[in-house]
Amino acid sequence: MKKKLVSALLSVAMVASLLVGCGGTTAPAEEAAPATEEAAAEEAAPAEEAAPAEDVTISVAAIETAYGSDIWAQVAEAFTAETGIAVDLTTDKNLEDVIGPSMQGGEYPDVIHLATGRPAGLTEQFIKSNMITDITDVLSMTVPGEEAVVGDKIAGGFTDTSLTNPYGDGKTYLAPMFYSPCGLFYNAGLLEEKGWEVPTTWDEMWELGEAAKAEGIALFTYPTAGYFDAFLYALMYSIGGPEFFNAATTYAEGVWETEEAKTCFEILGKLASYTHEITPAQANNEDFTQNQQLVLDNKAIFMPNGTWIVGEMAEAPRAEGFKWGMTALPAVEAGGAGYSYTWFEQAWIPSGAENVDAAKQFVAFLYSDVACEIFATAGAIQPVLGIAEKLEGDNVMFYSIYDNGAKAAMGNFAAFTPIPGVEVSPVFFEPINSVVSGSLTAEEWLANVSAASDQMRANLIQ
């Protein structure tokens, strides 16, 4: 009997421990607290000046990209020192998987730094369901610890695009972050060696394609089809200017029947025929570096990419005399403008955030000189005026692309309420794989785009 009692007690204990295990896992803030004290002790004076709420802790979630996560820890520390607001920081390479589940449960970070265009599309989903706080007033806030107003610091154009004002109502919902000019990257050493000029029009591009073909070199490759976003945007700009781009990205009626659209897909079709044949077979998340390697090995000349490529392929073997070069997309006609797409990331405040005011201060602080310098140490360049002086190495050449005649292209496809089976990337970018493989023609692709565009227009978020 005694034995049974003991075993009964044991099993009760087991059940209890299991249930405890199931219970909530809330143990926040404590970790961040020591940091606050430390910082406050270090720089007591400024903290007293600018701290409205000293016991506030904001949670910041930032994606860890090629720039690393140290910059975020440093910026969070600097922010706490400046304002006295503690920061509970989460950084991860797969940020969606880390913060996603708790957000489904209704617990949101106060600030999220996560760009659009990622496969999991988390930011897009928040845009589509109107779950982002309007931060237009942040633009008129003073940067914590400085005299300057946020809106005056941010470089021109960055807060007028559909990437920051997704609903086209003049209100800013997403703050522009680290920007990078995108364009065609190539081996400048190879072109010098062969005596080839960097093409400034598409006709020159095709001539170069023929010349390269004779030497057994392909004109073009791309890491994955996803890299066609920046490419297609810049291409649309260079063909029809901002008018065509805006019409196309808001799915205007008949826009895909215009001459501009036809030219656009003719170029894509022709480019596909000059693309290195093994590209589509490696255009996936596992093998895409092999496609980038084609450029390093002089097997292909151009690839669409961003400035991060230099760091990404830093360890890779390369052809002798290799030197990174970058050019804007060629113009359609001689004397026309070449365009380079400006890719930038976004930081935003979910509407479910608890400490909106403190979160807005944090967003404003991201444009402070202190933060910009910390970010720049890792190569992450904030879109603020006068940042050019902080650039080093290859970046000087990359970021000067706009000073050398290329125009900046910005924006993206407008948000629409989700349609089953119809998404931007599968419609506009991914079919390039099939065109290169030869199972789809550029005309068929255009027809599919046209049909999908009609559906997207019908579901546009106004």
Binding site: V12, G100, T224, I278, P280, N285, S437
Partner: protein, 294 residues
Amino acid sequence: MRKSGSRNAFLTICIAPATILFFIFMIVPTFNVFRMSLFEKGAYSPQETFVGLNNFKVLFKDINFIRSMQNMILLMVIVTLFTFVFAIVFAAILTREKIKGQNTFRIIFYIPNILSIVVISGIFSAIYKPENGMLNSIIGMFKDMSSPILWKGEKLVMLSIIIAMIWQAIGYYMVMYMASMSAVSESLYESAGLDGATKFQQFFMITIPLIWTNIRTTLTFYIISNINMAFLFVKSMTSGGPNHASEVALNYMYSQKDAGLFGYSMAVGVVIFLFSFALSAIVNKVTEREPLEF
């Protein structure tokens, strides 16, 4: 009387943890999948709109979904067929025949099972690499490879995934068949041998009928595991590409969730659930035989 009462209480307490956990982590989520498939909802937005069976109506007209189901069924049929044949033949050879290094073979066949799918994808990506990949290098010794075979290109990508999946699965099923084959009494083979039955006859008349219950069980395993494995392999090897040529149903479900269609992706989940359930039931029914005793 008092004794049996306390005994029941004790049993209840013992069973309770498993039951509660099973209820919380299996029944409730499954029920939720079915419920959510009737709603329209973003993965992160709290609003949900009841849309009845509308998700399913759209689903059966969605070409991408149909293609992903086709791919999944193709994988299930081909992989099951080849794995089954290879596993059972290898098992028969390793249990019935005396060959040198039996244990070594057993280990070699089983190794893929210990590896994680991501590692296997890495191995096969290296094998399938268009330039200097193992497969293309070997073929290159016999024929001109100036335009390499694109194993992960649009045309061959499904075949490449099939090969990787078969390679991964053989060992596991082989060990299962070996376990039941070694339970078959040696005397049956001896007497059959005396009666003049060849090895082939022995295999089909003795081995197969006597391990039939085991085969039936593994068939259900094949169906369920291939649905999951197809997702894992596709996710880590090709992400469904190039241009959705290797999309499978579970991967499609995932991508629709990411597109902000949580309810719709749950409808895909429901279809897969019912499909695998129905298929297992049919296979179970069709393969029903009088169990043989020995």
